[in-house]
Subunit: 267 residues, 2 copies
Amino acid sequence: MNQKSDPIGIFDSGVGGLSVLREIYKQLPYENTVYFADHMHFPYSEKPAELIKEYVLDIINFLINNKTKIIIIACNVATSIALKNTRNIYKIPIIGVIEPGAKSAVKVTKNKSIGVLGGKKVEEVYRKVHKSLDSDIKTFGYPCPDFAKFVEQGLSDPKEIQETAYSYLKNIKEKDIDTLIFGCTHYPFLKDFVKEVVGPNIKLVDPSQETVESAREILKKHGLLNEKIQKEAAHIFFISGNKPDFKFVAEKLLNEKVDKVVQNIQL
Amino acid sequence: MNQKSDPIGIFDSGVGGLSVLREIYKQLPYENTVYFADHMHFPYSEKPAELIKEYVLDIINFLINNKTKIIIIACNVATSIALKNTRNIYKIPIIGVIEPGAKSAVKVTKNKSIGVLGGKKVEEVYRKVHKSLDSDIKTFGYPCPDFAKFVEQGLSDPKEIQETAYSYLKNIKEKDIDTLIFGCTHYPFLKDFVKEVVGPNIKLVDPSQETVESAREILKKHGLLNEKIQKEAAHIFFISGNKPDFKFVAEKLLNEKVDKVVQNIQL
């Protein structure tokens, strides 16, 4: 049985899930965390669904073996493909980012027209969840294939990112959306670049905020919320494969020191 | 959600679990089955507990991915180390062989002295379960380190087996046990050799019978018992690593044709 001091488990195909981890640091500063980056299989968006389901099961087993008390699938693709399946299989609470993201966006939109930055599959799942929350909502997708790569590279070439953001989003005002969801956990790290193109009138929604609120509620309900001040919460990072610049990139994205990184985890 | 026609999943480090599969064929002839032999890690008895826990999680994921409706850990070592853990993790019903074996033995014994053929760890778990069922029961262990290997080799050298059985069990009457449990799923295939040494007055208990009865009850309770006569129940066998003689050995042990064998499964 889990204890309050057990860590929150969180994973992504890469460093994108750090946008959710950053939100945990902010909302739940006393929680210990275990982060898993499935670098060996990055990016998930180009993998068959059956493979992604297997990766996710392997990672969840790994996190459970590391005594996690709740698991956050901090990846939109993995959430869209594997969340339901994992909830059928495991007893541990598992949450994804899409329902929280959709809820946030539906609260924010005034004109019921919501854009999703992300691929086709993710766009479709958001459309479905939006409809279930409010049948009048219209959902429009905006694929941004190279965005995740820029974040993995630690935002090393701002000029290229800004030009790419412009090319992806220059026609965004054609649909009159007033809300835009980051449909990939990498994208909140590109917020300034996106803002620069879409202007001040489109509200940007980062699902991580509502995701972590949802995690907090579930932990509270199970009596597992860690509200006790520790000397320092422990944060550990596991990487499948090898990403030599993980520490450098993660510290840049999180704006926090990253000490415990274990590379080459075999699942 | 599972359906009646979904298979029963069953696994062991090798061919020992076939003694449980044989009992499924007998008691539940309409059930489809998926058998997993973790040949790559045979024998479990020599592996650290933490590794066995990981193997078991990987196999259970594999079986769940193959749509199994219930899982039988058809291995005493894996049951003793991992059953409780897996039940904490997964929603699917999971049963082991030790509780059923202990229940059978406690029903059978008249003088409350029960022997267990098996290693120290397995003996201890049986002792604990016996005590919980009847605090007067005395439990005695008889390690038989080479028995499983003989079964893996398809009982190819009866003379050697008989001599080894004699050397392991020649002092068995010193303790006045009246009941002897096969504390490893390989051992029921050596029944005749054991009988030859221990004589007619010690009752031999094969846990597989009560294990399959227990599986039947659980399936019935969940509305998942397959009682409909199919053309032919499907039985498939997966092997980690490579055991070229699996089909030959399995057919000899089961006394049934074994058609679908898939080798070299990577978990």
